[in-house]
Structure formats: C-alpha cells, structure tokens
C-alpha cells in the first residue's frame, strides 16, 4: 500500500480511535490505530513496574478471558495470562494438544463451544494461517490473534513497536533490519506491516531460501548479504530459526547459518553505533545470535520486549472489551 506513508499519524477528527471488533492482524489497521494501542499500553508499563500490591487494575473484573492455544507456547500464553489477571479478568487457559484438535469441523466446533460458554474475549494461537480469522467469524466476543501459522502475530508487532519507540524516541524514519527466517515468520509479517505503516524503512535480510517471494511488494527491500542488510540500521531484529529447518532443508547447517547470518558483536559494528538488537524469543544462542550481543544491556532490548509484551496485551484486552463493558464512547 504505497499511500500508507501519507496517511495521518494522529486519529483524524471525528474518527473512532479503534473501531475494530477483533484484533486478528496488523493488516487493516490505520497508522493512528496502531499508535493508539501503543499509547494505551504506556500506562500499563508504569503499573507493571509498581510495587507488588499496586500491580492490579479491576476494569476487566467479572469478564472471562479464554486463552485457546492450539499450538505450543510458553511465553505468549504466560504473557496473555498475566495481562488478563492484572486487569482483573477471570482467565482460563485451554491448551489443546496438537494431535486431538487439529482438523475437520473440530476447529469450528471448538469456536462454537467457546462461544456457548459466553467468553468475553478469546485469545487464539493456531498453527494454520487464517485459523484465527475463521474462528473470529463464528463467535460473538472479541478475538485476539496470538499468532496464526506464518500469517500474523499482531501483539508481537505492537510490543516491538512500543519497545522501539521507547528506546529510540520514534519509529518514523528509522531503518529496521528484520533478519533470518522471514519465510516462516508471522512475527516478520506483522512487523513489516506495522513498521512500514509507521514510516520506518524496513529491510528483510536472510538467505534466499528463507525470503518469501514478492516480499518487496510489502514495501521492504530485500538483502541476502547480512553485512549489507544491517549496514547503518537503527534496529536489528533477529528472527528465530527452527532447528528442523537448519539441517539441510533451507540452510545447510547451523554452523553455516551462524557464519553467514548469525549476529555477532563484530557484525553488529556495521549497524548504526547505537543500534538496538531485538529478538522475539526463544533464542538459539550461538546460531542466529551470539550471547555477547543478546546479553549486552546497552544494545539488547530483548528482555524489555518481554516486559512490553504484557503492557501491550493489557492495552489490547482493555480496548477490545470496552464495548462489552459499556465504556463511554465505545458502546
């Protein structure tokens, strides 16, 4: 969408700040809607950093939040659970073994079942692209996408944008290099959508076998040379490469991948002097990223990303349930 850069950053006069029922992706969000969610998240950062008995808000009290995770996850599930509980929601986790519920009407049936239990918000992760959209069509309550296949992971993109904004003071005009397995990454897709919408210059960097076709049509430049790709970058965002994809299928070996595409302290010197290093986790230390870089508090924002994750998810849960809660201006 070439015209996105010219759209306003601030919510235009008379326009609702966030008119969407669900959050299934960054696709379809206006720049000001993305920024609205980031602004909303700021208040929760302060609350989360507060003393033990102050880390609580009751605005979602009495509401039922179901986390339906059809794909294994530790961090994201935990983050959504904490976010819901900090807002006072009754949080229920439904971890579905991949083998039992995967195909058939079962997915729709599960959606109908969840709906019949009168959930107030459903958070879904599924291994198939588009699965969350499918479920969102079938339920009456807001649905939050916690990652669907290779498609989207909107809250990750929001927490990344928030992290960048806090560390760099802005997003507009920054150069962000997204490096590694872009092909299989929903994190990459959602980040490309949000960062280009917010006027950052986005590069994708990785071996040609892990760069999806026509990705430049999403408004990014493509680099297969790692050094060239991160040269002068303000943010170096590393992606996780799954073990099974390192052994000959997409790249010859972890060793070769590290040699060509691993982020080392030496390599990082090619980026801007104050470049920020990010990773959605979990990391393969010594493969896509060296510990020396990942653990450098000056450069690495990796633990901060986790912290922003809770705040962003609190903001999303709050905003999406406002209509149900009858908040003025949202009902």
């Amino acid at each position: 969408m070439p015209d996105i850069a010219s759209r306003p950053r601030a919510t235009p006069e008379g326009v609702h700040p966030f008119p969407h029922r669900h959050l299934t992706g960054i696709q379809g969000l206006q720049p000001w809607e993305i920024l609205f969610l980031l602004d909303e998240a700021e208040q929760w950062i302060a609350l989360n950093r507060g003393s033990a008995n102050a880390r609580h808000d009751n605005r979602l009290a009495g509401l039922t939040q179901i986390n339906a995770f059809f794909e294994n996850s530790t961090r994201t599930l935990l983050s959504f659970e904490i976010a819901g509980k900090r807002l006072g929601a009754d949080v229920v986790n439904m971890a579905v073994a991949q083998s039992s519920v995967k195909k058939g009407e079962t997915l729709i049936d599960t959606a109908v079942t969840l709906n019949a239990m009168h959930a107030d918000v459903i958070v879904i992760r599924h291994e198939a692209s588009g699965a969350v959209d499918l479920i969102a069509d079938k339920v009456d309550c807001p649905v939050l996408n916690a990652g669907d296949g290779r498609h989207e992971h909107p809250t990750q993109a929001l927490l990344d944008a928030l992290t960048i904004r806090r560390r760099k003071g802005r997003i507009e005009g920054l150069t962000v290099a997204i490096c590694g397995d872009v092909l299989h990454s929903r994190v990459a897709r959602s980040n490309i959508l949000s960062l280009t919408a917010l006027n950052a210059e986005v590069r994708v960097v990785g071996p040609p076998t892990l760069i999806p076709a026509a990705i430049e049509r999403m408004g990014v430049s493509v680099h297969t040379d790692f050094d060239e790709g991160i040269a002068g970058a303000d943010v170096v965002m590393m992606l996780r490469l799954q073990r099974e994809r390192m052994a000959g299928a997409y790249v010859p070996s972890p060793r070769e991948y590290h040699a060509l595409y691993g982020l080392t302290a030496e390599r990082l010197k090619r980026a801007a002097a104050d470049a920020l290093v990010m990773h959605p986790g979990p990391m393969n230390r010594g493969v896509e990223i060296d510990s020396a870089v990942a653990d450098d508090p000056e450069r690495s924002a990796i633990t901060e990303q986790v912290e922003m994750g809770v705040a962003v998810r609190m903001a999303c849960l709050d905003v999406l349930t406002r209509k149900r809660r009858g908040v003025e201006g949202w009902a």
Binding site: Q27, K102, K103, G104, E105, L107, I108, H126, A128, S129, G130, A131, D133, L134, D148, G149, R150, H151, E152, R186, R189, P212, A213, A214, I215, R217, M218
Partner: protein
Amino acid sequence: MSPLAILNGRLVDPAGGLTDGGLLIANRQIAAIGAFDVPADAERIDAGGALIAPGLVDMGVFAIDIPAFVAGGITRAALMPDQSPPLDDAALVQRAAAAGKPNVWIHPVAAATRGLAGTELAEIGLMKAAGACAVATGRSWIADSGVMHRLLAYASALDLLVISNAEDGGLADGAVMTEGETATRLGLPAAPAVAEAIAVARDLALAEETGARLHFRKLSTARAFDLVRAAKRRGVRVTCGVDPAHLFLSDIAVGPFLTFARLSPPLRAEEDRRATVAAVADGTVDVLCSAHDPQGPEAKRLPFADAAPGMAGAATLLTLTLGLVRDGVIDLPRLFALLSANPAQLLGLPGGGLVIGGEADVILVDPDAPWRIDADTLPGAAGNTPFDGLPVQGKVLKTIKGGQPLG
C-alpha cells in the same frame, strides 16, 4: 418414442457456424438440421430464439453429480480415476461406466498406475476393454520419469490418450498457492508457477519420444502454454485444457483465506491468467473443462491450507465460458468446439457436434439470461465455487440426452 422437433432456434455447429433453424430428433439421433418438415406425430419445442448446441463433454470431473451436469448442459463426463477406491481395475471402470445411465453418460478415465501411486502400471489394456476412454495420472504427477516413459509408450500402443496433471511434485509439495504477493501476505505455503512448465517440458519430451497422445488436463501458466504451442508446431501429439477459474480469477481471489478458491493447480498471477485467455484465443487450448469437484463444509470450512482443493464447476462451466464470446476472445462455434467437439474427439466418444445421424445430445441455451451464482443454491452435490456471488449471463434452458429431455 415420438420424434422431437426443436424449432425456432439458432444452431451452433462447432464445425461450422451459426444458423437460424431447428433440429429434428428421432430414435435418439439427430434426424434433420435447419429447415425440415415436422412429422405429424412429433412433439414440438419452441426454442424461442435460444441457442441449439451440442451437449457439453466435460473432460475430467471428480464426482458423478448428475444434477450439476444437467444444470450445466453436460451430457457426457469423463470421470477422473481419483475415486475411492481409485479406478485402477477393470471391474471398477465397468461399474463407473454404468453409473450415469440413462441420463448423463459417465466415461471413466483409467488410473495410469496402481492406486495412482505413480510406481507400477495399472492394467490399462483391460480397463480400456472395460470402457475406459483414456488413462490419467489423476490429481498427482508421476515423479519417476521412467514410469512416465513406460506409461506413454504402453498407452501409445493401445492408442489411449494419456491425461497428465502438470505439477512438478518436488516444487509443489505442501504448497497451497502460487508464489507471489498474496501467498506471502497470507503466510501460506506456495510453489513457484514454474512447477507447471517443468512438468509440461518433461512430459512433452517423453511424448515426443514415444509418439504417444498426451493431454494436459488443466494448464494455467504462460510458460506452459509456450511449451505446448511450440510442441504443436513440431507436430507433437499434444493437447491441453483450461478451466474457468484460471481464465477469470487470479490468486488475489483467495482474499481473506477463501477456501473455495483453494484449487489445484492453485490460482496464478494476473499475467498468467491473461496468458491463459490468450492461449484460448490463439488456438493453443483445445478443451474447456469444469474439473468439477464438489466439496462439502467438512472439507472446506477449515483453515486454508487444511482445506481440500477443488471447486464445483459443472453447473457454471458454460455460463462462465460464454464470457469469452462476449469479450470477443472466441466465437460461439469455437466455444462449443472447446466444450463439446474437441473433448468428444479426443476421448473417442460419440456426440459433441450437430450432425445428421449423430447422437441427439443437445442443449438449449439462452446466452444472455442474467442470474447470480450462489453457492447455497448451486445445483449439485456442493456449492464450493470461487465465483460465489458473481452476476453472470447465460443459462442452460434444457439438456437433452439421446433425444430425452432431462431435469
């Protein structure tokens, strides 16, 4: 049975042209064409200016779906071997051949290999004797070039047409879309479009080597058409088909994960769609087929990559391809050559034309009647069409099989 006189229509002869007139049917055959004396005992149908055309011969359907065929003006359908169990045995072929009678006639296509596994040749000769009109690789591609070579050589001796599915298995493995912006945005596994041309190139080389008759069931890319065009010029005995989806839709039709648009081969880029239309216009394409594959919600109401490929196409094949005539791509007689005469001739079946003494497989068509394609009310076993909601023109008014009006 008394003779049937269809009067006051416009006759579409695939071999000739378009003339005003009527048709007399007696003893299941066409007895007179044009102007004739109506016998006193004849039943009369006033066509009211509608087209009188040969019934469609649908070259490659996946299900026996008589209501859809009748609604679509299809009087004969070649049934793909991808059944459960696969049509790899003479007895199964014989049973399938009887399934549609006396209405729409089903002409089974024999599986090229046992279980369609692509490794051992099936009893092709015995299946031919049992009524198979051709032999096919089914939905899949025979990966082993040695097997494909032997298949073409063997079928050539039996003078059986070999119908190939042109998709390189290695490239297409696991893919549900064509590589491109849409697949990338949706995060769906995709194969490069060249997977088709690679398969076409190999099969063409082997057909040229063996002298076999080769037909590509559905082609959809510019490069594949270029290869077929060049091979035809060299005198290779090759033909190819296309379907309406790849003529009128590109991969953006997948939109927000619409599983009705999950097809095999997958929808292509706009340039390839245009090349498909151009290949119809310049005569590279020999056959228009529906690839009718009705799938219910249990196969389609799934995440995109888990959904079964295929679309219900029989009821809309003629309606949609009439658009080619309106757009000036081809004329009406050529349309019915692609829909009726050519497939009949390739499969060695009677019908497909309007000739005195020929089978009275005839349809009446109003080429302008407007309607809207609706998945929920589409005639047939299921309404999984990517054209759902599309306003269209052209409707089959009557389908007559062997002189007998159906439906």
